[in-house]
């Protein structure tokens, strides 16, 4: 795939060969606008239907409930702003959690400026939202609950079904950002009882810049992008045909052998966690030991700082991340690690290693070995480690 060892599948994934192959004709052969009535346009419309069916099948939704978007962030923005503005007459209170992706958090902060009230639920030390906390946060004027399915940094999987049930009992719309969970968890929107669910293609070996929003029939939601009549007049813009076809194929492939995929990744993940935890002292695993994404490892190394670990890994040809990729350019420590109670000092020394379909056992061994010497080297430079050694 590439000469680097890639341990950042949660940031993005390479497009699989089979996915790219299905996409290619839509760039310059079946390139017609699917809204047109002529032949090459009609071929596009057909492919659009197939892609929608494929995504719907993986979620056990109706095809008409799947709306294609320009990515996970757009899906989140649409879901939250769309519900907020469409239900202003019913209330202005929204509940979310402190560990959401910025696509949710910053959207909520924007809504605060627009006069909405937001409750940001705390999480426990594993990153779990408390079912009772949600119950207690609900008010008469609550119109939306948005809780992510699985966290992108620490991989913690929420009890979405229970949370959605609570919202439903009070007649409140429930959205879940499933961008990380999709393709890594078995998801049935009907069984879960959610009203809105966001996904993104590039996290499941599909292309970047395309995603979808599941909108349960009857959910009151405004448009985010106005214009032409595409997506049943609910999301304007000439359809990104290669992208949508790619999402459809990637979705199908992701769920073809989902159990096997989960089992394999879980085994590799636990090997990676065990390897690091046993070989490197002063480490702690962030997130839940079992209620976590099959591909997610997040570990804090005391006395050293994350970027310097990343750089050192990069020198060894290993691509990883410290917190979410989106925020790796930022200076502040991760809001997720802060929410699970990590001190800033420890949070700064966190490393996220996420694995995927191309990860091998050899790669795992290699990373553990390299990490051991990298952490050791950086600790030798660190004045904090010096103090600890002295303390002994």
């Amino acid at each position: 795939m590439c000469t680097q060892l890639y341990f950042d599948y949660a940031a993005t994934t390479p497009v699989k060969k089979e996915v790219l192959e299905e996409m290619l004709p839509f760039f310059n052969i079946n390139f017609g606008n699917p809204s047109s009535i002529y032949n090459i346009g009609r071929q596009g419309r057909n492919a659009l239907d197939i892609a929608r069916d494929r995504v719907a099948k993986t979620l056990n939704s109706k095809s008409e409930e799947i709306f294609f978007t320009g990515g996970g962030s757009e899906s989140d923005n649409w879901a939250i702003k769309g519900v907020a503005f469409a239900n202003r007459d019913k209330g202005n209170h929204i509940i979310t959690s402190k560990i959401e992706h910025h696509a949710v958090l910053h959207t909520c902060e924007y809504l605060e400026k627009e006069g909405f009230e937001i409750t940001y639920l705390d999480v426990d030390k594993y990153g779990l939202v408390g079912v009772d906390d949600l119950k207690n946060a609900i008010r008469d004027n609550t119109i939306l609950v948005s809780i992510m399915y699985a966290n992108n940094e620490i991989g913690t999987i929420q009890p979405i079904k229970e949370l959605a049930q609570i919202a439903k009992k009070s007649g409140i719309i429930f959205h879940t950002d499933a961008v990380q969970a999709y393709g890594n968890e078995i998801i049935d929107v009907n069984d879960l009882g959610v009203d809105l669910l966001s996904i993104s293609a590039h996290k499941i070996y599909g292309p970047k810049g395309v995603g979808a929003l599941y909108i349960k029939k009857g959910t009151k939601i405004q448009q985010l992008i106005h214009g032409g009549g595409q997506e049943k007049k609910r999301r304007a813009g000439t359809e990104n045909m290669p992208g949508i076809v790619g999402l459809g194929k990637a979705a199908e492939m992701a769920y073809e052998n989902i159990e096997e995929h989960i089992d394999r990744l879980t085994r590799l993940r636990d090997k990676l966690i065990d390897g690091i935890m046993t070989k490197i002292p002063y480490t702690r695993l962030n997130g839940h030991p079992t209620k976590r994404l099959p591909g997610n490892v997040n570990i804090s190394f005391e006395f050293i700082e994350g970027e310097s670990i990343l750089l050192s890994l990069d020198m060894e040809g290993i691509a990883a991340s410290s917190g979410s990729a989106c925020t790796s350019g930022s200076l502040g420590p991760s809001h997720v690690l802060a929410a699970i109670g990590l001190s800033h000092e420890i949070a700064h020394g966190s490393l996220r290693l996420t694995i995927g379909d191309f990860t091998t056992e050899d790669e795992i061994n290699y990373v553990v070995e390299k990490l051991q010497s990298i952490v050791d080297r950086l600790r030798q430079i660190s004045p904090l480690y010096e103090k600890v050694k002295r303390g002994k």
Binding site: S308, G332, P333, E345, I381, P383
Partner: protein
């Protein structure tokens, strides 16, 4: 993102360590911001810095600027060392990404703090230290929401 020189000073930092009998020790930064730098100076009777060592907890550019700064003041007089600016360190490293320039402030402040402590102990005054306050915890970070 970093140039070769920065990466070299990050991967092979010069002057890492401690000096047991250092004349001057300065520590700046704080772990909450993700960086701490401690600097040890050996200073002889002629006010010449004969040896320097450092330890840094921080990102790549914090480590690289620490390393470069120690190289730049080794063999210099105390007053020359006080004139070291963060921009001079950045230049010596052939530049840093804009978002990382603030890390070089840490090195400048570590040198100054060490000498400040040294001067205070010995009742010396250096006009280069006028207005310098080691407890002014400005570390160059902008704590903006990203």
């Amino acid at each position: 993102m970093y140039n070769e020189k920065v990466m070299d000073h990050f991967m092979n930092p010069r002057n890492v360590g401690e000096i047991e009998d250092a004349e001057a020790i300065g520590e700046v930064g704080n772990p909450i911001c993700g960086d701490i730098m401690r600097m040890y100076l050996k200073i002889d009777n002629n006010d010449i810095i004969t040896d320097v060592k450092f330890k840094t907890f921080g990102c790549g550019s914090a480590i690289a600027t620490s390393s470069m700064a120690t190289e730049m003041i080794k063999g210099k007089t105390v007053r020359e060392a006080l004139r070291l600016t963060n921009m001079a360190v950045v230049e010596a490293l052939d530049g840093l990404p804009p978002a990382k320039v603030h890390c070089s402030v840490l090195a400048e402040r570590a040198v100054k703090t060490a000498i400040y402590n040294y001067a205070k102990e010995r009742n010396l005054t250096y006009k280069e230290l006028d207005g310098f306050d080691p407890n002014d915890d400005h570390d160059g970070h902008d704590h903006d929401e990203e």
